[in-house]
Symmetry: C2
Subunit: 389 residues, 2 copies
């Protein structure tokens, strides 16, 4: 009886063949075999013990990962950007001030997001291939007295890592909270939430954790919790950390339904955390450091220049490489994909036309992968020199 | 070198054995075997053709599912509640009026969300076991002249379905847009977005589509697009439909990165849509109608009462059943799980202590499943009568 009422006919969805490349962009990277398996574990119903166990496992794993004793630790049902929006919208309200330290495109995202909430935004911008001086930041915080300072730990658009040790103490001295993006640094670069005085932090699963995107680990310090309790504004419903804390039972005796969690993503994140726990954080960090040091040596042997001048500023997960004059970045990326089935990325934001972005992280952080990329780059340098120079 | 700096030791994550029950609550329901398989398909990188193809497949499938020729159709990276927040926050701004038709808990959620944006909220509330009269709604819309009217098509907290035919025309007559929740009705109850004049609609994947939660189909009419173009406010960044439309290439020639999509959820949704397309919408609707009619007959044979008095108001996916005096709803639900490994739910919101909520939808909408539930209920009625009455 309904056939004649259908104004949109059935579309045709065809299955296409393709060969997945080795994922060596700034993310997503490849996933652990255990995570691929975990994705098809049984659907869990809300408000049942099996789901609560998985949520508790995830919270325990994230406390280890962030190195925090704070209880307000959970995962947002959305991409890393939903984590960013959760951290900002729960801490800073309309007419309050946020100081955003800008060096890459993620900081500009934080700026754009903040403006939408009527937050007063102040920007401390530096050159894209640099990192921030804590002394300079202190001078600015002292004058502006913002409610919070936003900074990106690892920046995938530039390939730099920001030193955070001491920054929390500095912010707290002037009554500011410290908000940190660790999307492309967590489970790769050393990170100590409590020791560094970080008050709000979020990450993502498709980078160092080698899981699928779509679920965003997040944590707030006790200091942040006090601020949240006293705030006179409300964040969007989906991002309200108080409601989420009640769903995730962060403080005990609450299992209140807030929204329907995604079972495959919960299983996957749990599996990622098991990988890190089994290897241990110090060994995960050491593996990333060794792999990338080896890769940088290979890059130097190819007579290529790293975009980030100071070695201590170079991010362990994403390496930005400058090509010699005459090479085209898009052409280089395409050749790497077509000839070697390795996916690397061109520059983004401030690094467009200035560098390749090569990601080696998570399950891919091995000498073998680093060598495979370097070998393919060596071939590509020759091939494109012949044809275009 | 980092071992001694770890203040949080490694937690232990143990694998627990459990038997997944047949999922017959109001959702999530079980997933198609093809969807379980799709979840572990390869990770797709942003801005690559393979991802674009999957996104295009999903948009075509959703246009069929919603029965709309509108181009502004895509999936939000979040649960159904993120779809709700996207629809509301993109259409109604601070100091504008929304009229919310309240009969179950999802409408109260829409109310709570709206208030957070400084939207003026007006409520038209009816008794939970009833549905709305279009004549009554017209009287209210005529007086209030809201920017939008929010209504839930299928309500999983009460087990009722709202007639929507004619409602769009009525709203448009008074300059209002029609926003509809189809979380528990899409791909189960007939739905015609364009014909019914729906301006904003969202759904979820873990109900009639038999997929995993975490990705929310959404569509806006051309009328809604005009309103969005002229609005003088901005929704949260994560929910901004203009940015999302540019990422999903809704209007052509845009593939702008907005956030990282979740490959397993995209593959899963695509696979759900393929199931519906292969079966065809009229046959999917007929199967749900037949299964549930059979189940209702079995319920009557058990001398049990359906909570929703009018047959035409009864939702095809979720049946609310009143137990005879003396039975305890929680005890009944527990016995069904422990003895028969079938998960059904007690009442929620207005139906707490008033009804069981039994979901038969998607892959589970078969005579076999309906009979299995009814048989188990017959046994439970006897077992709990012996022990407690």
């Amino acid at each position: 009886m309904y056939e004649e009422k259908l104004i949109v006919p059935r579309p045709t969805i065809v299955d296409r063949q393709f060969t997945k490349p080795l994922l060596c962009g700034p993310g997503p990277c490849d996933i652990w075999p255990s995570v691929a398996e975990a994705l098809s574990k049984p659907v869990l119903s809300p408000l049942c013990d099996e789901l609560f166990d998985v949520m508790d496992d995830i919270r325990a794993g994230l406390q280890y990962l962030f190195q925090t004793k704070s209880k307000l630790v959970l995962a947002i049902s959305g991409s890393g950007h939903s984590g960013m929006e959760t951290v900002i919208s729960n801490i800073v309200g309309p007419n309050e001030t946020i100081l955003i330290c800008c060096r890459g495109i993620w900081d500009d995202r934080a700026l754009e997001m903040s403006k939408r909430y009527g937050i007063k935004t102040k920007v401390h911008r530096i050159l894209f291939n640099n990192t921030f001086s804590l002394t300079l930041i202190e001078g600015i915080v002292k004058i502006l007295r913002p409610k919070a300072l936003f900074i990106t730990h690892g920046d995938s658009s530039t390939g730099s890592v920001q030193k955070l040790e001491g920054l929390g103490k500095l912010c707290h001295k002037y009554g500011a909270l410290l908000l940190v993006d660790t999307v492309v640094s967590l489970a790769s670069e050393p990170f100590f939430m409590d020791e560094w005085g970080v008050d709000g932090v979020y990450s993502s699963t498709q980078k160092g954790l080698s899981g699928p995107a779509g679920i965003s680990p997040i944590a707030f310090s006790e200091r942040a919790q006090e601020v949240i309790k006293k705030r006179n504004f409300k964040p969007p419903f989906y991002f309200d950390i108080e409601l989420l804390a009640a769903q995730w039972n962060c403080f005990g005796n609450t299992r209140q339904y807030h929204h329907t969690l995604s079972p495959p993503l919960l299983w996957a994140l749990r599996s990622c955390l098991k990988e890190v726990i089994n290897e241990t954080l110090p060994k995960v960090w050491a593996r990333h450091a060794e792999t990338t040091a080896h890769f940088h040596k290979r890059i130097e042997q190819l007579s290529l220049e790293l975009l980030i001048p100071k070695p201590e500023d170079r991010l362990v997960t994403v390496t930005t490489v400058v090509l010699p004059k005459g090479y085209d970045y898009m052409e280089f990326v395409k050749y790497m994909r077509n000839k070697h089935n390795i996916l690397i990325f061109p520059g983004l934001g401030p690094t467009v036309g200035k560098a390749l972005r090569i990601g080696i992280m998570g399950v891919n952080s091995t000498i073998q992968v680093a060598d495979a990329i370097a070998d393919a780059m060596a071939d590509t340098l020759i091939a494109l020199k012949k044809s275009s120079l």
